[in-house]
Symmetry: C2
Subunit: 427 residues, 2 copies
């Protein structure tokens, strides 16, 4: 296949005609697919249906510490749920508070609490003139939406294949006391599927922030979400921070949203004792406690890390073929054309695609016109603004394999068409 970048004006014009014809045919198929969010597919959700049988009207709903899960009490989680979530995150139960139905809410609360009450006694952020967050990008749009809602200034940090650009992170964190946090998805990152290297994790743990209330927001959303037998190892940030003499530097978040049911799972915060004690002091007023029955249901059903892993293998069996089919189509259709690049992830929920500069919005629009809704171009950057208009997040989880193949074919076609237009200077 000849690279588009090597083609003459004439060749490109001819190609455009042909691609336009293909596109009209594709439109005529009347596809109707929504791939905008990383939603589990129905087959994946079916996997967890036995969870609903775990507790029934004959169950003893007493937690290991003797607490009746049907009544008030137990602010920071029942012991068996703490153990399960600690297992998942690779930390110890004493580092864990188990919350309610989703980790996004914990992250929002953690920022909101810092705004209103400060961090371990620091000035509440809402009293400061300026608060900044570092945002490795491409990244997760809902992280950026939180910091944007609070008026926090977001600074883009480029991603590399080993994690965020740590030179830049170290420089900004150590020099600017207005920098209070950084959003991280350290394993199978959203959307690139990159796992932070051991060196990256150690450099995070060894940060010397100018602000005493700087924290790493470590969203370990895909900690057990492998596509293959072999996992990409991720160092435990909590113990690395301890070793580096920075035990309070990090908040780690995780949930079972993509293990059991999305929005009806359980979630957890892991951090140092000092951080957790401060959190407990605030949440004792914020809530009478989280849903302990759902905590018990999850703890009894999944039991431990082995139970979780066995379950996640079944998830992978649904996900892997769709990822592989998508990657195969990208390679087959776009390989060698020099109009885009992508990463083959070993886990997580997304495939990240980078088009030629200035093409992403047009590609997403073209797909939509033909019935395939992708995440908005730009969504993977703070304020929804991708400076290169290049990154597109593909979410293969929700469609069926057949639908995903159709969508990937259409996507590749739209990439070609828009790239030709770009090279011809017509967009």
């Amino acid at each position: 296949m000849k690279a588009y970048t090597q083609m003459s004006h004439e060749e490109l014009t001819e190609l455009r005609e042909q691609l336009n014809k293909e596109y009209e045919e594709a439109k005529a198929k009347g596809l109707k697919l929504d791939m905008s969010r990383g939603k589990p597919g129905t087959g994946q959700l079916n996997l967890s249906m036995p969870l609903l049988d775990t507790l029934n009207s004959s169950s003893e709903l007493i937690a290991e510490d003797g607490l009746d899960c049907r009544n008030y009490g137990g602010l920071d989680g029942i012991p068996e749920a703490k153990r399960l979530m600690a297992d998942m995150m690779g930390t110890k139960p004493e580092h864990v508070i188990v919350y309610g139905n989703a980790s996004l809410n914990i992250m929002y609360d953690t920022v909101a609490r810092s705004m209103l009450h400060g961090v371990l006694g620091s000035t509440p952020w809402c009293k400061l003139d300026k608060v900044k967050f570092l945002c490795p990008a491409p990244g997760y749009d809902r992280h950026f939406a939180i910091t944007e809602q609070f008026g926090i200034e977001m600074i883009v940090i480029p991603m590399t294949m080993t994690g965020p650009d740590m030179d830049m992170v170290e420089e900004l964190v150590s020099s600017d006391p207005a920098v209070k946090g950084i959003w991280c998805v350290p394993k199978y990152s959203n959307p690139q599927g990159i796992t932070y290297s051991e060196e990256t994790v150690k450099r995070f743990a060894a940060l010397k922030p100018a602000a005493e209330d700087f924290r790493i927001f470590w969203d370990n959303a895909y900690v057990i979400h492998d596509l293959y037998e072999e996992t990409e190892p991720l160092a435990d940030i909590i113990s690395e921070c301890e070793k580096a003499g920075n035990p309070d530097l990090v908040y780690e978040f995780a949930s079972t949203s993509k293990v059991s049911f999305s929005g009806a799972g359980i979630s957890a915060l892991a951090a140092s004792k000092a951080n957790l004690d401060f959190v407990r002091k605030i949440i004792t007023v914020q809530t009478i406690g989280y849903d302990k029955i759902n905590q018990l249901r999850h703890a009894r059903y999944f039991k431990d890390l082995n139970g979780l892993k066995a379950h996640m293998k079944k998830h992978a069996d649904f996900m892997r073929p769709k990822f592989e089919a998508t990657l195969h189509i990208l390679e087959k259709e776009l390989g060698g054309l020099e109009i885009g690049s992508w990463i083959s992830p070993k886990g997580g929920y997304f495939i990240s695609f980078d088009s030629m500069e200035g093409c992403a919005k047009a590609i997403v629009a073209k797909c939509k016109e033909a019935g395939v809704v992708l995440t908005n171009a730009g969504a993977t950057f703070p304020y929804g603004k991708d400076p290169k208009d290049s990154n597109i997040r593909i979410a293969p989880s929700f469609p069926s394999l057949e639908e995903m193949e159709q969508a990937a074919e259409l996507f590749a076609l739209c990439v070609k068409l828009v790239s030709v237009e770009k090279l011809l200077g017509t967009i």
Copy 2:
């Protein structure tokens, strides 16, 4: 029985000796009862066990609007849960957002949101020099804890048998733009069991606040929690506010915490469309949505207002004997002695007792010494400070009938003993 206040110094001294003897005997029984919180008893919790059978691995978990409750989506509640909670609150589903596991958290969030983002476009409260809340007292300690945590100044409003002192409420709300809210438990109030009269509700709805961002925080926690067949009617604040031309004046809160399981129920906010639209704008960033499976579980199990009412009758069968036994003992032991007064509630979770001035702390301490833990004296007032040191909240729900009788006997004895000491001037 001769009133203590009519007794001579000699009579009181003699009485003290006898009471002290009785108290030592009571202590020797080694009671161990915690009546500090309004927790449902085990019998009440057992009533809701079939709720756990409502959904199982063969269930279709599709909500009426076609949404799969196992997946993401559906920010403000599934239709059937909105209808159920609207039924409970006596309002329409379009006024309702269904949240997670407890209404306390909605109230906290509502104050936190106002602090951070203002109310319908007003200045965020955290940017103001002074924010004040009116606190009808005795009231609910967790309300006061929320406003205290946010540094909001609390002003005590005396309670009357028809609700808060409305002359004072009207005066303060209409004259002081720093007054941004008032905490209300309008039906079977915590702790007095008073239901606001129709006139009180209408006067609330007709308030003319100096602050555009003033809101009534209407915690309808005991809306269907009758002890008897006949309910004490409460006018619907939402429609009264509409009628008065103040549709945005109120936030109403309710939950099934004391209907199904405490801390594992569902909860709701009811308000005008303008208020709800503003809330939705914020929570779309705060959460990916609340637990729709638990919403569906509750909606399918309770079905409608009739289902809820039938269920609450069974709750009342557990509660009523304990309330009646307690009131009977108070009357039998303390009637005519002029050392305390109390209200006989027709619903709710508490009996409110007022001792002679300056005796409540000592009575609670005496009870504790003999093994019965009551809510801290003062807890029913802002900052935990009862200016008269007189109000004590009795929570009959959690102990068994027999335990409650023992506790009430001990309580009456402690009231007598402390009152005698007070009259003798020895405390």
